[in-house]
Amino acid sequence: MIQFGSAHVIYIFEAARWTIVLSLIAFFGGAVLGLLLALARVSRLLILRALSAAYIQTIQGTPLLILLFLSYFGLSLLGYRLAPIVAAGLSLTLYVGAFLGEIWRGCIQAVPRTQWEASDCIGLNRFQQYAYVILPQAVRIATPPTVGFMVQVVKNTSLASVIGFVELTRAGQIVNNSTFQPLVVFLLVAAIYFAICYPLSVASRVLERKFNVAR
């Protein structure tokens, strides 16, 4: 049996970088998808509203683990052999997009209707309304919950370990397999997740308080 030592700690910390990389891929991919979904959810076209609602319902009703298995094992059967990071990035993007889409829909709808009416009156078209009037205000409302949701994104990247992507949790498993000290290893892993997530949680709360006062 190998003693748990500094080499293991360094290995785990290096793997934490991949957790952060995967989180960023998932967040920015999910943000693009989420914005499109949010706009589709408040669209004037019934078909767009229905399709985006169906997508969100489906993804929110499916465990992320199953999405991961579908894109990693399932797609390879169909002939698309994805690398673990691509499969993980893809399924996290689909997942995060559905949640951000629903959060941001709420934020767009929370902008007072009078803002729509006023921008109609001064003759802005739909694009200008969104770009200059609605979205800037919605972003302000959306910032605290979005930062809060980033905590979920970071935590959910831990599931990428099950398809063999060596991020924080997988590194913990590998080290545990050679040292047999699960308590030490996984407490360290948990502590690193905490160190990433807790500042985000606090930031979300602070932002919420700050923006509430301003309103």
């Binding site: 465990p63 683990l65 199953i66 579908l70 399932g74 935590k155 831990s158 047999f180 308590l183 948990a190």
Partner: protein, 227 residues
Amino acid sequence: MNYSFSFAFLANRWPALVEGVWLTIQLTVVSITLGFLVGTLCAVLRVYGNGFVRRVVGSYVEIIRNTPLLVQMFIVYFGIASMGVKLSAEVSAIIALVINAGAYTTEIMRAGIESISKTQLEAAECLGLSRVNTIIHVVLLPAMERVYPALSSQFVLLMLASSVTSQISAEELTAVANVMQSDTYRSFEVYLIVAAIYISLSFLYRFAFALVGAVLFTRRRKLGTAL
């Protein structure tokens, strides 16, 4: 892409899926119930406890909410086993899920308890209710009513998250799917079916929570009126 879908394996393998669904339901119903009780107790302590208790409960909530369920599950399953206590995968899964659900419930119920207006407490005091009776009869039920939508969607998310327990070899739905796909090489079909089952389960749970809510909160009040 020349892959032909085939669901023929279902013909003699569907009983395994039913068993998996049943274990998923058992695991999650037990964890949701216990997690709700733990969380409600912690929420009461968080609001009415002394400074020390408040800080302990606060740390519990923050630690659990800022670490992944998968890692919590490994700590419970492998960590406790390494200290010499052998727990089955299902029991470990329930312990981890209860700890996790308890933390989220604490935070949600705390919001509910804090939303109860002070005049309610004063009125209860005037009627001579003891502190415990006040909390049970005057605070908790209306508090729960106010946060019920948040609670039920958190519990549906917990049901979906219970798929993670397959990683410590609890034989629930996802684990059954993993075995089935390695037997049949039909991973795409297997996971599509399982995804559909989870979606149905999440609708079923939402419906069940709506029913429980209708029974529990009989005082139908229009939204936005004073409590």
